[in-house]
Amino acid sequence: MNLHEYQGKEILSTFGVGIQRGIVASTPEEAVEAARKLHEQTGTNWWVVKAQIHAGGRGKGGGVKLAKSLEEVKEKASQIIGMNLVTPQTPREGKKVHQVLIAEDVYYPGPGPTKEIYMSVLLNRQIGKFMMMYSPQGGMDIEEVAESHPDQIFTEIVEPSTGLLDFQARRIAFNLGMQGQAFKEMVRFVHALYKAFVSIDASLFEINPVLKTSDDRIIAVDAKVVLDDNGLIRHPEYTALRDIREEDPTEVEAREAGLNFVKLDGNVGCMVNGAGLAMATMDIIKLYGGNPANFLDVGGTADAARVEKAFRIILKDPNVKAILINIFGGIVRCDRVAQGIVDAYKNVGDIPVPIIVRLQGTNAEEAKKILDESGLKVHSVIALQEAAEKVRELVG
């Protein structure tokens, strides 16, 4: 589950991670009020107005602006709230901005230079341990750094039994060129960041940049925080942080119905039992001249109620020209699934697109008979190859 920058920073700060402070606002008026309050709390005289959407590269798209007066705060907030922000990480049409974070200016002049650092915490899938990845080349796209300066990216693998050790935190601070007070602050920052990561069951932290301020404080200026969906069972309070405005409304509806659904931009809807077979079904649609309109794992039972819900969700997409149902009935019998499909079809009413039903497994022949005799506009097949050829015939 993705969090907004302001939500991520709030959580980080409760674990003692230094952050660029800020207040979230939904209107230009709230933004001015937030800026005033932030001035009182932090003494900042300049503010950064930051669009809150679930995508990186916001600065490049005009979603992050500096304001040097309260009038400018209002002006910039007016420009950003409600805009369709397009960044390298958003869909082509961009994402609508509903909120801005009014943040303190942290690039103020002081006794030393400021320095931007990249830091992330993530799972190393190959070795099955968490690791910290960091670079003194902060503030830019880390994939570019990986291309141009691979020697400037460092990793620190954390042993699960011990957690991040002191020498590892020191090594990070040394590799980042920290000295004196900044060195001590960095060691503390790194420890706090890792503690936060494991405590909240995160699956990714990406802090870009971490800033060494001119007076040697270490703070997170941005925060991409992704929570492990499976970890939410331990943190029910975080489920309230989900911002469904960031998601496709059909995906939200599908999730509420217990269906695993991802919206795509093709013309053939699909409904499959099992995630692997669902992806394979999308692939075969493409191979035979169609384009998958969605990923949908209807689950092991595939009963009439679920099939009906799945039909309704798929049919919300006007691009859908045909629907392929692909069920491998193992423990669940195909004839029962077929009856469920017939019942669901009748409940939905007239379905305007052709449906290909491929049922294989226990009682596949009986299932085909039920569908063939149902009088519905359904092409019933048993072999996957036949289903693929039917897709080509209908949309290829």
Binding site: N230, I233, G276, A280, G330
Partner: protein, 291 residues
């Protein structure tokens, strides 16, 4: 011969008395698997499905001589159950549970390094040695006995592949569902190695999906050490970047974990890759008859 489980395997069920545990234990017994008991903390001393229930895996092992365990424990407690089984000396642990927090699996995976045990899963359909033992949730009838081994991250796609293999006249030795989570006990390469070492297995089907680098590591190993033909399929060529496709581990992160990249490296390493999931059985029949 076979790998991981056979007709001599003595199996216990962790989460025995729950709904899933009860249903699938019955199905396993019906298949002929030697289910010798189960574990549900607090219900020790009772009987379930005519078999003894124990409070701990340790007791179950002591009383029944169990060497294999299958886990149906809910996600919040499943990693603990895996470690309990390993500590009790279980040789093969099959974790069916979907939804275990990654942090728990990081701990469990590293705990297992200190034990003599093999973990299959989690988030997997289990392991079946055709006509000997089913330690999983797959439909047993699909897996007719034969000469082909299967290694797969997915459930129903494994059944699909097995069905095609059987219909191509070949049949199955052992099918290993390794699981679709980011952290699993036995990655693709290790499961492939087991089947390469099995004298009954003459060919191997390797089914992967987007995310991670297990298939690439397996492909490189096969190129160096493979002694049997491997037919491969990778699901998710049409999956968008950055989206989790059902399985927690099925997410394209960069340029190396796409279906295209995986298939390319598998082809370079001599694996017979099919683009269509409908051609797994046909391709294996071609490859085997050409030997």
């Amino acid at each position: 011969m076979s790998v991981l489980v056979n007709k001599h395997s003595r199996v216990i069920v962790q989460g025995f008395t729950g709904k899933e545990g009860t249903f699938h234990a019955s199905q396993m017994i019906e298949y002929g698997t030697q289910v010798v008991g189960g574990v549900t903390p607090g219900k020790g001393g009772t009987k379930h499905l005519d078999r003894p229930v124990f409070n701990t895996v340790e007791q179950a092992v002591k009383e029944t001589g169990a060497d294999v365990s299958i886990i149906f424990v809910p996600p919040a407690f499943a990693a603990d159950s895996i470690m309990e089984a390993a500590e009790a000396g279980i040789q093969v642990i099959v974790a069916i549970t979907e939804g275990i927090p990654v942090r728990d699996m990081v701990v469990a995976k590293n705990y297992l390094k200190t034990k003599e045990t093999v973990l299959i899963g989690p988030n997997c359909p289990g392991v079946i040695t055709a006509e000997e033992a089913k330690v999983g949730i797959m439909p047993g009838f699909v897996f007719k006995k034969g000469s082909i081994g299967i290694v797969s991250k997915s459930g129903t796609l494994t059944y699909e592949a097995a069905d095609q293999i059987v219909k191509a006249g070949l049949g199955i030795t052992t099918a290993i569902g390794i699981g679709g989570d980011p952290i699993i006990g036995t990655p693709t390469r290790e499961a492939i190695k087991m089947l390469m070492d099995d004298p009954e297995t003459q060919g191997i089907v390797m089914i992967g999906e987007i995310g991670g680098n297990y298939e690439a590591l397996a492909a490189e190993w096969i190129q160096e050490n493979g002694t049997k033909p491997v037919v491969g399929f990778i699901a998710g060529e049409t999956a968008p970047k950055g989206r989790t496709m059902g399985h927690a581990g099925a997410i394209v992160g960069g340029k190396d974990d796409t279906a295209q990249a995986k298939k390319a490296i598998m082809r370079q390493c001599g694996i017979h890759v099919v683009d269509s999931p409908a051609e797994i059985g046909k391709k294996m029949a071609e490859v085997i008859s050409g030997l």
